[in-house]
């Protein structure tokens, strides 16, 4: 019996146009199916339909037939449907209900009425399977993001469900956490489990999926095997869904007449397939501007958390950041990125060292002076919405800094127009999309025109198009207003494409600082902080391309550009 059969399924939220229509999908036992599509296309909604959440928990107009292990979900209770399914969603915090890891993993089995010896066996099995026996007695809120999500996976695995439904389980994790979770999913796939998975990092799950289903324009546009993906480049491009960089590189090189086989996403495996191609070096497109004056001057900065943590989160960092530059700060969680940023913004007072902006020590400024000098956009835009509607929220900051209301509205209009939010100025901020709320958070700080803006993970949960749109806006701000923009991020492709400089942190120390083209060369050094260059840059490192390509277009130009002499060696 097939785990999932969707027959002519459609869905609309109350009072909204249909989100899904004519969805037909069958998932066989033991298959691993990746569901991809642009933000807002209905991927999570489709997973909710498969898990029975729709129509039992979320209401709306569901049409067609949904069968899970042969049972029509509309005719069965959610509790019964869910007893066969392990469901993992994006935020582990919302899926941990117990304080101790062992209790969390046992809880699902308690609910299913397992006998106590069976619960003990299930607990041990799940801990071993996800290689987390050392977490057994730990407190759940003390775990890292990756550990929490592995506990959630283990808690869903313990009652031995027949199907796993995973909704972008690594989207809120740092690279090391994502790697831990992906290795858990890999183990599930290898053990023959049936998995339906939404995952924005197709590159990372490439090796474990059997089929890729593209959801676009409310229905399934493509259902193909992994190895056939590069034949459908146009469809993925039209849907704004990135293929793994090297898979797309291979497809686009072939279209430019370069005879290369289908490339795997891993640069180590792809490099030998391209070793016969020689590219002429080209001039760097982004020469470093040595003449810009220093805007942010960090000297010997250290920060140690007070007891009981006592962690030395930032350790003797020296940095000189020029005016008008866009700087990416990278490193795994716990490497000190956010603590450094909070010291730079004055939210934390350093244990040693100093931070000055245009020669003034930020830690000697009042709250208002700091807000006017170093703007800080926090990761979650929902934590920064204080007023209704959008226009009032943007005006809030300048008025606090002493601007007249007329002047504040004038500035707000300029920023809202630049960020494409002027038309929605009278809406409640929570009616905007996640990307819209993220732009609003940036607008609310940009309107105060601080010389320095720090943005913590501005692209979390955004699709590729929105991520690039936000980064482009930040770069434009830096260029037009001469602002220095510091971006904390895990998205290396955005650092490569949009940042002039990057700073890599490891255990609170600055291990690399310079243009991305230079920093990404030293993969060995970056590996200790779990930073991987974009696949095309890593490929450039292996092929010795000069300068290193930072974007897909750079790589195509190096290998097949009309100005290049491509020779077969």
């Amino acid at each position: 019996m097939d785990p999932i059969v969707l027959d002519g399924v459609g869905f609309a939220f109350p009072a909204l146009p249909p989100l899904l229509h004519d969805v037909n999908l069958t998932i066989s036992e033991g298959e691993v199916v990746a569901l991809v599509g642009p933000t807002g296309c209905g991927k999570s909604t489709l997973l909710h339909i498969c898990a029975g959440v729709i129509p039992h928990f979320i209401s709306g107009d569901l049409t067609g037939i949904v069968r899970v292990f042969g049972t029509n979900t509309a005719e069965t209770s959610l509790a019964r449907i869910a007893s066969n399914i392990g469901t993992v969603t994006q935020d582990p915090e919302n899926q941990l209900f117990n304080l101790i890891v062992a209790d969390e993993i046992a809880w699902g089995m308690e609910n299913r009425g397992f006998a106590r010896p069976d619960i003990r066996r299930g607990l041990d099995r799940a801990l071993d399977f996800f290689r987390i026996p050392h977490l057994r007695d730990r407190i759940t809120y003390d775990l890292s993001g990756g550990e929490k999500q592995r506990v959630v996976l283990a808690a869903n695995y313990a009652p031995a469900p027949k199907l796993f439904v995973l909704d972008d389980p690594t989207s809120q994790l740092d690279p090391i956490g994502a790697q831990q979770v992906l290795s858990g999913i890999q183990a599930l796939a290898e053990s023959g489990q049936t998995i339906l998975l939404v995952e924005s990092k197709l590159e990372e799950i490439w090796s474990l999926v059997d089929r890729v289903v593209l959801l676009h324009n409310g229905t399934i546009e493509l259902d193909t095997t992994r190895d056939q993906l590069d034949r459908h480049l146009e469809r993925f491009t039209a849907a704004n869904v990135p293929l793994p960089q090297l898979v797309e590189l291979g497809a686009r090189l072939r279209r430019r007449g370069v005879a290369v086989p289908a490339l795997p996403p891993n640069p180590d495996n792809a490099a030998p397939l391209l070793s016969g191609i020689r590219a002429q070096p080209v001039e760097s497109e982004r020469p470093a501007d040595e003449t810009r004056r220093t805007r942010v001057d960090v000297k010997g900065l250290s920060y140690r958390y007070p007891p009981p943590r006592r962690t030395l989160a930032v350790d003797g960092v020296d940095l000189e950041i020029p005016a008008g530059s866009v700087v990416g700060v990278v490193g795994q969680n716990g490497s000190g990125k956010t603590t450094l940023a909070r010291c730079l913004s004055g939210h934390l007072s350093p244990s040693a060292g100093s931070v000055s902006v245009d020669g003034r020590d930020v830690h000697r400024m009042s709250v208002r002076e700091r807000a006017a000098t170093v703007g800080y956009v926090f990761q979650n835009p929902d934590h920064q919405i204080f007023k209704d509607p959008v226009l009032e929220d943007v005006v809030f900051g300048p008025v606090n800094l002493g601007a007249t209301r007329e002047k504040a509205i004038e500035s707000a209009e300029r920023v809202l127009r630049a960020l494409d939010l002027w038309e929605v100025r009278n809406l409640h901020p929570f009616r905007l999309s996640k990307g819209g709320r993220q732009r609003l958070a940036i607008a609310a700080i940009a309107v105060m025109q601080p010389p320095v803006m720090i943005i913590d993970e501005p692209t979390t949960g955004q699709d590729l198009q929105e991520s690039h749109a936000i980064m482009t806006l930040l770069v434009d701000l830096a260029r037009d207003a001469g602002q220095t923009v510091i971006v904390i991020t895990h998205a290396m492709h955005l650092v490569a494409e949009h940042c002039d400089l990057m700073a890599a942190l490891f255990e609170g120390r600055l291990i690399a600082f310079g243009p991305p083209e230079q920093v990404f060369r030293n993969e060995e050094l970056l590996r200790q902080t779990f930073v991987k260059p974009p696949a095309v840059t890593a490929l450039g490192n292996r092929l010795g391309l000069e300068p290193r390509p930072l974007t897909l277009e750079d790589a195509i130009d190096r290998l097949a550009g009309p100005s290049l002499k491509v020779a077969r060696g």
Binding site: F97, I100, N111, P307, H383
Partner: protein, 268 residues
């Protein structure tokens, strides 16, 4: 530094006691603090007990002590000036009004202040050494419906998350040039609280919906649906030491109460 309710997660004598035992101990201790003439002894005894029997030094919960200090000082000051002497520590006349600080007022004020402090500390002991789910499940054993007991414990599990969110919101307000939440001026502070309630409240609503869905998917309602009894993996039972401590607390309380009511050993 620990938030007001946060289980410390250690393994100690106090951590291993049943929550019901600790609850009885805390209640008896509070009553005893009103029976003995030197409540400050009980206050410091409790700090020592938390340190040596639970392994938690005062540096771990000093924000709580700091929070209690102004209340204890205020109570003492009120009594110093309200209770008449003699003897007087200080006195003056403001026209017809006689203002004085009396020695008996100081004693009564200190006694009450330390009693209040002892009550707060007893709660801290319970909070830091009692895993909320163990507490919830022991309440379930005493007859509270499972979902009520579980949700009660879960609310405490959520507390650190909400506290973290509040700190971020406070910083986000500062980033917008508002220092309202750090202000001592109530006309600035309370509007700041209202402003920060928007993101905090909406975030909590969104989170609670996601959590309710996730709980449903993990089978919270399955036992009711199938009509089968709920199994508890970690059984919560009273051990001999728990019963002994409960009995000991009650015996001491009754003894002190009797001494207070029927003898002159304890001043009334």
């Amino acid at each position: 530094m620990r938030p007001l309710y946060q289980f410390s997660g250690q393994d100690s004598f106090l951590h291993r006691l049943d929550p019901r035992t600790k609850l009885i101990f805390v209640l008896c201790y509070l009553l005893i603090s009103f029976l003995v003439p030197q409540p400050w002894v009980l206050f410091f005894l409790l700090i020592a007990a938390i340190w040596f029997l639970a392994g938690i030094p005062p540096t771990e919960y000093y924000p709580f002590l700091l929070l209690m200090l102004p209340i204890m000082v205020a109570i003492t000051l009120v009594h110093i000036f309200l209770i008449e002497g003699p003897p007087y520590l200080w006195s003056t006349h403001l026209g017809p009004v006689h203002i004085s600080a009396s020695s008996p007022g100081l004693h009564v004020g200190l006694d009450l202040g330390f009693r209040l402090g002892t009550m707060g500390l007893a709660f801290t002991l319970f909070a830091m050494t009692t895993e909320p789910f163990q507490w919830g499940m022991s309440m379930y054993r005493w007859g509270l419906p499972y979902k009520v007991a579980f949700m009660f414990a879960f609310a405490i599990r959520l507390y650190p998350l909400i506290q973290e969110e509040f700190i971020v919101i406070q910083r986000a307000l500062k980033a917008r040039g508002s220092n309202a939440l750090s202000s001592f001026n109530p006309f600035v502070f309370f509007p700041g609280v209202v402003t920060s309630a928007v993101p905090l409240g909406l975030g909590a609503i969104r989170r609670s919906q996601d959590i309710a869905m996730a709980m449903e998917l993990r089978g919270l309602n399955l036992p009711d649906e199938l009509g089968q009894p709920r199994v508890l993996f970690r059984d919560v039972r009273l051990r001999t030491v728990d019963i002994a401590i409960m009995c000991g607390c009650l015996v001491i309380l009754v003894a002190l109460l009797s001494a207070r009511l029927f003898t002159n050993w304890l001043p009334r």
